[in-house]
Amino acid sequence: MSGKNINLTLKIWRQASPKAVGAFAEYKISISPDASFLEMLDEINDNLEKKNELPIAFESDCREGICGTCGLVINGQPHGPIPKIATCQLHMRNFKDGDTIWIEPFRAKAFPIIKDLVVDRSGFDSILQTGGYVSVNTGGVPDANAIPISKDIASLAFDAAACIGCGACVAACKNASAMLFVSAKVSQYALLPQGQPERYQRVQNMVAKMDELGFGSCTNTYACEAECPKGISVTNIARMNRDYIKASITANPVD
């Protein structure tokens, strides 16, 4: 193990229930620089439980940056100061001895706080239910590569599909807009032949749901791209805008 422990002051958001008034509580900890951010929170919770106090509620699952469950705003930045990683991949070596760290939940009207640092992101699920799929008849297993797709297009679609739906884009956006998430989901289908039949209905349905849920509008600050743990590009937003505008203006729906 490298280095000696660092001493930190943590200001952590505590809120007992969705309707309760929350406030920051201060905790002091001496932690190894090799610990991950979530391991540090685990240690604080161990100490709290030993003292018979309620542990801090926070979410995590895979702890290797692929599930999108963990998500904290650390010193004003979703997933902390290091680009292209999730909170679980952040290590304490990125902080200095004596630092004060502010830990807040993702804040958005569409992401209501459940408890402490845990927010309800089921809004993302509702958006996916309106278009995050392709309707295909099940049947025999199709032959691999029956539909030719160029490597460039496949790579672009894959980059969009890399979105883990963590919600950092909403947390980072000054308007709490979900455009980066929705555009990634729209793009991963819009780019591939399998997504074409429902391409324009999909973008209209998903945008309508996004607006209905109270996410803000995009003002192209690109904070989402800067904070995205998967580096999803804002060119996906441009693609969604293009498809949505085209769908709205040229669609000729059948009654």
Partner: protein
């Protein structure tokens, strides 16, 4: 027309009309600037330019009405977006990390826009009203140049113009590249060029407009 309402009131639709009116205003600014630069040709050149515009008054009036509508849609949508976007995050963060992930130009569109709007009111009151002989300070004998020169001898008034033009530059710097993104026109090859053109355009427009009050302030009104 329900499809139009749906589009106009959707998050992307609001931005689309922001961009559409924005690019119209960007184009208008270019014509405005070219006319203004004729001030450097001296009284005769500028007064002739304004007199020529007088002679096509009906066309100018139609353009003014269209321009006013464009401004209103731009302002209405801008304020609507600002209010709705504030509502989307009722509780602010204790630590604001936005300087680490976005530009100051992109975050202050409503502030720069508001100051430019206040400027527009003052500007119309001074020049549009006088040039059209509305109100008390009408211009006689087509002495437009002399009126402009006299107006900018006030250092406070000129200073306000310069500050407003710098902020207009900030507004344009974000707005120009932003409208391409809104329309969905991004491209690996051309987006970097658009960003450069946008910044150059903003700097040129802001500087060229701001030079006029400075020029007359230094000349002392003649």
């Amino acid at each position: 027309m329900s499809w139009f309402n749906t589009f106009f009131n959707s998050s992307i639709g609001k931005k689309f009309f922001m961009g559409l009116t924005g690019i119209s205003l960007i184009l208008f600014l270019k014509f405005h600037l070219v006319n203004n630069l004729s001030l450097f040709g001296g009284p005769e050149v500028f007064n002739t330019v304004v007199k020529n515009l007088e002679s096509i008054k009906p066309i100018v009036r139609v353009i003014e009405v269209i321009l006013a509508l464009i401004f209103l849609i731009h302002i209405f949508n801008g304020l609507r977006l600002w209010l709705e976007n504030k509502k989307a995050r009722p509780q602010k963060y204790a630590v604001n990390g936005s300087s680490k992930n976005s530009t100051v130009y992109s975050r202050t569109m409503v502030q720069t826009g508001t100051i430019v709007f206040i400027f527009l009111i003052v500007h119309l009151r001074t020049f549009w009203m006088s040039f059209n002989n509305i109100g008390v300070n009408g211009i006689t004998d087509h002495k437009y140049y002399e009126f402009v020169a006299a107006s900018f001898t006030d250092p406070i008034y000129s200073g306000f113009y310069v500050i407003a033009m710098i902020l207009l530059g900030f507004h344009l710097n974000h707005g120009f590249q932003s409208l391409f993104q809104t329309f969905g026109w991004t491209h690996k090859k051309y987006t970097p060029i658009i960003n450069i053109i946008g910044t150059v355009y903003s700097v040129v427009v802001a500087t060229a407009f701001a030079i006029i009050p400075i020029y007359f302030l230094m000349k002392g009104g003649n």
